[in-house]
Symmetry: C2
Subunit: 334 residues, 2 copies
């Protein structure tokens, strides 16, 4: 019989102990992860960066990833986007009674592998088991902690006219992969989520430019939403070149067919980067030498016109405003 | 009409922006909470402590507290139990579509008030809105960060024979309050949850003793479960004096009536503290001068007999082992 999680696994007694040792400690084991309710982390100096993110995704497994990998990448990337080096992660699980032990272990194993790839250590956790129907399978909330090097000052409100807008790879993959995994459209594609930990890209960019103004991962709401947020926060205009937008052919087909804009499909492994044009070539060249950065390119610029708005210039030279993000996203993915 | 949360509030567009500004920013506002996906926290040196905890409680409002206050106290207290001073908190919300705006604001306001009382600043957050049925109303996951003073070394594996076991107040209140709020037993009591932020108690204890070995908050599983965990982690025996256990009369009545042991009912505002007997009187006296510590007392001692087990000595002098915590807790509270 397939072993499942029972409410007793969350009650704090022997079964909880066993769940923790058989799954969480087994895969997350490290000297900082103790049986105390909090972790002691040594050696800090100066500024730290922290970010928290809750993950629920349906389906939990999709081409290119799963909720576990997603939950590690999400917080790691949010910390990295401030220019910080993510070092530690906490993970809180809410598990529905009846959840498969094997599936949980697969997810936890994937978290451990992704944490290793990302260079972070999982130092504290929490497990709650809730009754059937109280949660749809599994929620994971992660919190990342990183150290911020002296002199680094990157934020969403620092985009300036004259900046180039760089994206670290082709867009809309994660959203498309989830959409296709969820609905049966009657055809098959090989689109995989771009889901990846990206701190190494940030580290590399910082070695070639000291003038990076803004970095943001284009998750919920996709590149379009993130650009609107930055345009607003920085009170600057953003102009995209339609023909420079990197969209993989299968993503292009799917979105055309379904009437979706790849700019509003989530990525989980893509950064948008704002850097003065003079440094943009060096940043793009450096990104292209790194894993997950091979297809980095410039997609637009920051302009002093239309502050707070994002425009797009078509191949034939006409310029229109990108519609502002509002309301329901398709597909619903976090 | 009562305004409710819709899925669009979690989609990252204008409605999300409004939800964040109307509720979260309004109550959590501080200079470190920016529109970036991560917070930059200045001025660290040395060791930090972090802890994460997920909160789901039914009912969400109960005598003496609510899920919001609980979610702040939980992580603050876990950080404090390592001897650290909690300074920052992150909060991730998973909200069911249709959830009342007013109720959310009441909960968020309570979090802000509790954070202020606890001396922590909420620096980063996340909001996910899920479809009806995907979550039972509201989950909150908080992560606390604190700084650990030099020389402080408190952990669950440091209890030593010769230690006194101190509890900071009467036990079993939170569990009883939840139980009574959930079920209609046909009578009324005035039991309130003990739910409270306790970092000031830890700070105070550290001023009167440099030999505190272990501090733990007696949440899930109550004092009994926590004592078993410490006995095991420290490979030491614990002996409780039954007549010294502080249990408020209404809690005593309820538990007697329902056949429950107050030792296994959750507290959310009580610490168990292990300190050499020579320092115990000073610790208890100091605790009694502080809010939430007025009823502190010694309830037992650490012994070299029966390592890993907890015994209890009755008023007539007989000694028995406290049954080890296992399986289902009553009531299910986190």
């Amino acid at each position: 019989m397939n072993k499942t999680i029972q409410t007793a696994h969350g009650a704090g007694g022997k079964k909880t102990e066993r769940l923790i040792s058989d799954i969480f400690k087994k895969h997350f084991d490290n000297p900082l992860l103790t049986s105390d309710d909090a972790a002691v982390l040594p050696g800090f100096e100066g500024r730290i960066v922290t970010s928290t993110d809750g993950f629920i995704v349906s389906p939990r497994f999709f081409p290119g990833g799963n909720i576990g990998r997603l939950s590690v990448c999400g917080s790691v990337n949010d910390v990295a986007c401030m220019g910080a080096m993510p070092t530690y992660l906490t993970a809180a699980f809410v598990i529905e009674e009846g959840f498969s032990f094997d599936e949980l272990e697969t997810i936890v194993r994937s978290m451990a592998e992704t944490a290793k790839e990302a260079g972070v250590v999982i130092v504290a956790g929490d497990t709650k088991v809730v009754e059937r129907g109280q949660v749809d399978g599994l929620f994971i909330t992660t919190t990342g902690i990183g150290t911020l090097p002296d002199g680094v000052n990157i934020a969403g409100n620092q985009a300036r006219p004259g900046d180039a807008v760089v994206v670290t790879g082709d867009i809309g993959r994660h959203g498309s992969a989830i959409l296709l995994a969820r609905e049966d459209f009657g055809f098959h594609t090989d689109i995989e989520s771009d889901d990846a930990p990206l701190a190494h890209l940030v580290r590399r960019m910082l070695t070639v430019s000291h003038r990076i103004h803004t970095i943001r991962d284009a998750t919920r709401g996709g590149v379009g939403t993130v650009l609107y947020e930055i345009a607003k926060a920085s009170d600057a205009g953003i102009r995209l070149m339609d023909e420079d937008l990197p969209v993989a052919p299968p993503v292009k087909s799917i979105t055309a067919m379904l009437g979706l804009d790849p700019l509003y499909l989530a990525c989980e492994g893509r950064l948008v980067v704002f850097v003065p044009k003079a440094d943009a070539d060096a940043v793009v060249a450096a990104l292209r030498e790194e894993r997950y950065g091979e297809n980095a390119c410039v997609i637009g610029e920051v302009v002093s016109e239309h502050p707070g708005k994002v425009s797009i210039v078509t191949a034939i030279g006409t310029e229109r405003f990108l519609s502002a993000p509002a309301g329901e996203l398709l597909p619903r993915i976090c």
